[in-house]
């Protein structure tokens, strides 16, 4: 009997220690990257280290709702990060540097704050020279009011503009398009014999000639994924988070600097002709790159490639111009 008592005690002790020890051991050796809505902390950890040229395997899990994971400026499909499940992902970084990873699902009001960095170390033979964005190079104040003083009666037509433009001795370089707002071009066309409506049509045709259907499609895709949550599917600044952003502005008004805060919390309305026709591609690029400080507009400079940003800008103007598809 004594022996059986001893065996029973050992059995209980071993079983309980096993039930605790084994899972604890495996748990300690499973480094998960936890995703939580930004209000509860966002990514944890939010800094990941890797070596250039070596595969980096990540185990992603969400502690609350569905999130997404993607690394900025990298050619990869974003993956979904499901609550309580683990998504494995292997990435290889060719060049050292600091990469930004971000949430790709509209998980909550502060979705865009869900970001982290991957610090990739290694030696690089050709460090990419950093060039300042165009708006800084040009000394453009992207926070200054830029509304167009005159707007067309209807949506300018590309078809009619193309016919008119072919008869005009008009410079159409990419730099010209980048640095001029539609309204500036409209003003420059004043010297011609065209009516105001015809001049807007010409502007529309110039804008179309600086993009491609692929570019627009890519821009539309990026917009739907990253911008529509706040700016709305139709660009009217009425996305699903718009009301909540305004409400958040209402709260911040009480302990911050006044009404301006609340107004600036409202997402930009791309269907507003005065706002859009007064904005040059460079100005929009600056806003997208940098984000709006003090508003909910994220900075996308570390996430989108330059080409992606130009595609997006081309798409933004389609809320004003009747492009040919």
């Amino acid at each position: 009997m004594k022996r059986l008592e001893l065996i029973s005690r050992i059995l209980i002790t071993v079983a309980v220690l096993e039930a605790i020890g084994t899972p604890l051991f495996i748990w300690a050796r499973t480094p998960l990257i936890h995703a939580k809505v930004a209000e509860n902390g966002g990514w944890s950890p939010d800094v990941i280290h890797a070596n250039a040229g070596e595969p980096l395997t990540l185990h992603l899990t969400s502690d609350d709702v569905v999130h997404g994971f993607a690394v900025g400026q990298m050619d990869m499909q974003s993956v979904d990060v499901m609550p309580g499940k683990v998504t494995d992902l292997t990435l290889t970084f060719d060049k050292p540097g600091i990469y930004t990873f971000f949430c790709t699902r509209w998980c909550g009001l502060n979705h865009w704050r869900m970001r982290g960095t991957i610090e990739v170390s290694g030696s690089s033979s050709d460090p990419a020279p950093a060039s300042p964005p165009l708006y800084i190079f040009l000394g453009l104040n992207i926070d200054a009011p830029h509304d167009a003083h005159s707007i067309p009666d209807g949506r300018p037509s590309v078809i009619s503009g193309q016919q008119l433009a072919s008869n005009l001795p008009f410079e159409q370089s990419v730099d010209y398009y980048h640095t001029h707002s539609p309204y500036q071009v409209f003003k420059e066309l004043k010297s011609t014999s065209l009516t105001e409506a015809q001049r807007w049509d010409v502007v529309a045709s110039i804008w179309q000639s600086n993009t491609t259907p692929e570019s627009l499609a890519n821009g539309q895709h990026l917009y739907a994924q990253n911008c529509a949550a706040c700016h709305g599917e139709n660009g009217a600044g009425n996305g699903v988070f718009a009301d909540k952003l305004a409400a958040a502005g209402e709260t911040s008004k009480q302990n911050m600097a006044g009404d301006a805060n609340m107004i600036r919390q409202t997402p930009a309305n791309f269907t507003d002709p005065a706002r859009m026709l007064g904005a040059s591609p460079t100005l929009l690029q600056g806003k997208i790159l940098r984000g709006g400080m003090g508003t909910g507009m994220p900075s996308w400079g570390s996430i989108f490639t330059p080409e992606q940003i130009w595609d997006l800008i081309a798409y933004l103007y389609s809320f004003q111009f009747e492009y040919q598809r």
């Binding site: 008592e5 059995l11 209980i12 605790i20 495996i26 502690d63």
Partner: protein, 443 residues
């Protein structure tokens, strides 16, 4: 219907007399319990993917309320692992009693606490936090750990299973509802017990321990406080203890006279109704209030919760029986007639549980393969999709449970009223209205 003595079967009797089958189950249960605590503390915070939530509040709860309690009464208590570590310390052994006992104080439980009010309170405490408890693995882990350590702590101060008998929030209602179960532990012949020297079933001998539930089996008339631990089967020198199959709700023929038990019936009835409304109902405001513990909305919810249980339900019940003719004082009538609420409450819980158990049972498959949410796939079911089960039979099954519960409670009310020579009509009316409300909330 006559009773059938199951322990006449040698196989059953030997299986119960031997400590090893029970010990084997205890160990498996303890491993599961400890793992549930661990999963709650270190596993994914997503409740639907965490072992602690899925196995405790879906799997265990389903087995408990749909099978164990209705058919086996305190059957769960017979295999519950919570007392095991504490008893090991208290007894100094896990098998038969050792020669020398450890020197713990082994105090008697204080007399003024020898009732189920502490269990009523512990259940209500959990009930008020249930929205958080049922969905947050961390909290579930902590509560499970607290229960285990409370049982260990009490074992070292007080004699026998004080935690189970007087504190366990689950044991309280299992005891209440075990009276309806078709199974019982009773003595075979009273004269044998009267003549028995030393009463080893209560004080223990070399074959086993004195009743851990502080009950003298010779005096058992109802299941409420018998934990089916089987010690008395082992200790009885006269083979005078039997496990019987019996008609449902046999214990309710003799209504209780205890006010703590009467209130237990109201607590359970009211909680089932409130849960049906708050957890399953369409009212977001209630859900939010119940979930946000500590906010003013939650305090209002808590006050309403307690008011329904302690004022509104007992109030209407009392109003109903106030004018009935009886020789007994109101308090005694109240306690006796509340017996009718026992089958009603049990069936309310069955109907309520059917709904969320069938809805959420599919989480068990995923959680089985990946209990901590670490990306494991032990049985290849980690990616099993959530899918409500048997949705077509849910409403009919709930209706059956509620209607069956009403008929059952009406019969019980008649018997209880007969016993104390009063009218059962107000009680049946009360049960009828409560069932209508529950029907409206659930089906």
């Amino acid at each position: 219907m006559a009773k059938i003595e199951l322990t006449r079967s040698l196989f059953i009797k030997n299986a119960l007399k031997s400590r090893y089958p029970q010990l084997a189950i205890f160990i498996v249960m303890l491993v599961g319990y400890v793992f549930a605590i661990l999963a709650g503390l270190i596993g994914t915070p997503v409740g639907s993917r965490n072992f602690s939530i899925v196995f405790v509040w879906i799997a265990w709860w389903a087995v408990l309320i749909l099978v164990a309690v209705p058919f086996f009464g305190r059957g769960w208590c017979a295999v519950c692992p919570i007392p095991l570590p504490g008893e090991w310390l208290q007894r100094g052994a896990v098998l038969s009693p050792p020669d020398k006992k450890p020197k713990w104080p082994n105090l008697r439980w204080p007399k003024f606490l020898r009732n189920i009010w502490l269990q009523n309170i512990s259940f209500l405490l959990l009930a008020l936090f249930s929205s958080v408890l049922l969905t947050t693995p961390n909290i579930t882990g902590i509560v499970l750990a607290v229960m285990l350590f409370a049982a260990i702590g009490l074992s070292m101060i007080f004699e026998r299973r004080s935690f189970c008998r007087y504190l366990c929030p689950v044991g309280g209602f299992i005891g209440l509802y075990s009276q309806t179960a078709p199974i019982e532990l009773r003595i075979k012949n009273k004269q044998v017990c009267v003549a028995c020297e030393g009463k080893p079933c209560y004080s223990g001998n070399e074959n086993g321990y004195g009743c851990p539930w502080d009950v003298f089996p010779g005096g058992l008339t109802k299941n409420t406080y018998c934990g089916l631990c089987m010690e008395c089967i082992r200790t009885c020198p006269h083979d005078n203890i039997a496990i019987n199959l019996r008609p449902f709700s046999a214990d309710l023929a003799k209504p209780s006279t205890r006010i703590d038990e009467a209130f237990k019936a109201f607590i359970m009835l009211g909680s089932a109704m409130i849960y049906a409304g708050v957890l399953l109902g369409p009212w977001g405001t209630f859900k939010d209030a119940a979930y946000h513990v500590g906010t003013s909305a939650w305090f209002i919810y808590a006050i309403i919760f307690l008011a329904i249980i302690f004022v509104i339900l007992p109030g209407f019940f009392t109003l109903g029986i106030l004018k009935t003719k009886s020789a007994l004082p109101l308090k005694q009538r109240f306690a006796s007639l509340a017996t009718a609420l026992i089958p009603l409450g049990l069936m309310f819980w069955v109907a309520f549980s059917l709904s969320f158990v069938l809805t959420n049972a599919s989480y068990i498959f995923a959680s089985l393969s990946d209990p901590l949410g670490l990306g494991w796939d032990l049985f290849g079911t980690a990616n099993a999709a959530w899918q409500p089960m048997l949705t077509s039979i849910l409403a009919p099954a709930q209706t059956l449970a509620l209607v069956g519960g009403l008929i059952w409670s009406a019969r019980t009310a008649q018997k209880a009223a007969n016993e104390i020579k009063t009218s059962s009509i107000p009680v049946i009316a009360f049960c009828f209205i409560a069932t209508l409300v529950m029907f409206w909330l659930l089906v």
